[in-house]
């Protein structure tokens, strides 16, 4: 268990709902869930969630902290916003799922080999480096995120798609050496660093 996680467990003891309300994006909405299940029934990846959103909300109230934060459920959110527009209580469910996923990741207890967890981190690393997404490097990082062997297999499988993108000029090998970027990437990084500091001050246990 990480230090940050241990600190939160001790601080909140058996009140996981309070912990979520205090530290998770839009977490103050969780108690408003009335367990109708429309979110779970509306989710395009619904069958793949170990615990669909409705269940996650009940588990938070029941104090099932490890089961929620270590679950790969929230990482199944495709951000389609079906649940948000259909929720009778207008809970920002998509954002709560993103918030729970991020919180678990901050605490260092998100499932390590979850593919979306890995991809989403690669995406963030990619975009913050230059201020803009480098699609070629992101694609390659994705193919090789589970090691060289699997990377070569995936690359071969994707070869024809990559070639199609190259032939239609929707991908360029030039992205490997230079590529698109913000001129003031440094300024952007300074903004992000400050934002991270300010956020960490509000959620002290997870400050880096």
């Amino acid at each position: 268990m990480t230090d940050a996680n241990q600190q939160m467990v001790e601080q909140y003891r058996n009140n996981f709902l309070r912990e979520v309300e205090d530290n998770v994006e839009e977490g103050e909405w969780v108690k408003m869930c009335m367990q109708c299940g429309v979110c779970s029934g509306s989710c395009p990846f619904g069958p793949h969630w170990e615990h669909p959103p409705q269940e996650i909300f009940m588990m938070i109230r029941a104090g099932k902290r490890d089961e929620v934060l270590q679950s790969d459920s929230m990482w199944m959110c495709t951000s389609c916003y079906n649940c948000i527009v259909r929720c009778p209580r207008e809970l920002p469910i998509t954002h709560i799922m993103h918030g729970l996923a991020h919180y678990a990741k901050r605490l260092g207890i998100a499932p390590k080999n979850q593919p979306t967890q890995k991809f989403a981190q690669l995406f963030w690393n990619n975009l913050t480096k230059t201020g803009r997404v480098n699609e070629l490097k992101l694609g390659l990082a994705l193919y090789f995120m589970n090691g060289i062997g699997e990377g070569i297999k995936t690359s071969l499988k994707m070869q024809k798609i990559g070639l199609g993108m190259l032939m239609t000029k929707r991908l360029t090998p030039m992205e490997l050496i230079g590529g698109h970027k913000c001129k003031d990437a440094k300024g952007l990084q300074a903004i992000l660093k400050k934002a991270e500091e300010l956020e960490a001050a509000r959620i002290p246990a997870t400050g880096k």
């Binding site: 998509t94 991020h102 803009r132």
Partner: protein, 299 residues
């Protein structure tokens, strides 16, 4: 109509030789006909779409969009911000609303922006290009510029998720929006009636991390278009376009289907209908060629 000017946020995928560069080409052609001036936000950055949350907390993610909005307020004052990408639109509009409603987040965001000498009011409206077309022009005006009606082409209007939810287009429903069908009709083509997958999800960014689960969704989107007699699919979203077009071979292999369905943007249709060449309309960017549009464009 007089020239209309907007503060433009193109987004990463619209850049030269990026995955939706063909979208940008057709948008430029469409805007030329409609006398729309797009003033690019100088040195804009990525919005982190809906997948930045693993590495980025709420405030850093808001700060990304805040930087774009702050530069926009400076460089293009008094103009609405317009995005062509659904995810860019959504992320920026969400940030604008949340910062407007939450004083703490707004204060902290400005504290962060000050690191680069920027300041934000979040006063500009944030709109998707289709909103501009429908609200600032309207179907009648859009129809007036049609030189080559897309006669005899049947098109499934795939609206997808993020151009539709949670904000959507004013006056349209989340479950059965009609604007894309109306645009198709305005360009002289025939919309597929009752296209039941029109607001279904293609997997979005999870098409990368969960390809099999996403391709199962994409299969339904294409199959339903075929069932409706569609010659092609049209969409307002770069992620929808790419996901629905490029995985058809993989889907064919797995599900023993025989898909070869072109997937175009609304702006592709409009550029061709407005008399643009295949190149103007970005048709050379189709991996699955839209042959009927190519023929019409070359006439």
């Amino acid at each position: 109509m007089a020239k209309k000017s907007y503060s433009f946020y193109p987004g990463c995928s619209s850049q030269k030789a990026a995955s939706a560069s063909n979208y940008m080409v057709s948008v430029n052609s469409m805007c030329e006909t409609l006398d729309i001036e797009l003033n690019e936000i100088p040195d804009w950055n990525c919005c982190s779409a809906s997948i930045g949350y693993a590495g980025g907390g709420e405030l850093p993610r808001l700060a990304l969009s805040a930087r774009n909005m702050a530069i926009s307020e400076q460089a293009n004052p008094g103009q609405d911000i317009v995005a062509t990408c659904a995810a860019c639109w959504l992320a920026t509009k969400e940030a604008q609303e949340r910062l407007h409603d939450d004083d703490t987040l707004m204060t902290e965001t400005n504290e962060a922006l000050a690191q680069a000498g920027l300041k934000l009011e979040a006063s500009q409206n944030v709109r998707h290009m289709v909103e501009v077309l429908i609200e600032d022009f309207g179907y009648d005006e859009l129809g007036k510029h049609v030189k080559k009606p897309l006669d005899g082409i049947k098109i499934a209007g795939y609206v997808g998720c993020q151009t539709n939810r949670p904000f959507g287009i004013d006056g349209e429903s989340y479950e059965n929006p009609k604007y894309l069908d109306k645009l198709v009709e305005t360009m002289g083509a025939e919309p597929v009636e009752n296209y039941d997958q029109k607001v279904s999800c293609c997997g979005g960014a999870l098409a990368f991390s969960e390809p099999e689960k996403s391709q199962a969704l994409i299969k339904d989107i294409i199959e339903s278009a075929y069932d409706g007699g569609a010659d092609m699919i049209v969409t307002p979203c770069p992620v929808c376009q790419m996901n629905v077009e490029v995985y058809q071979d993989h889907i064919n292999q797995k599900y023993k289907t025989n898909f070869k369905m072109p997937v175009v943007y609304y702006s592709t249709l409009m550029s061709v209908a407005y008399g643009g060449s295949g190149k103007d309309a970005g048709l050379d960017g189709q991996i699955i060629k839209a042959k009927q549009l190519e023929e019409l464009a070359s006439k």
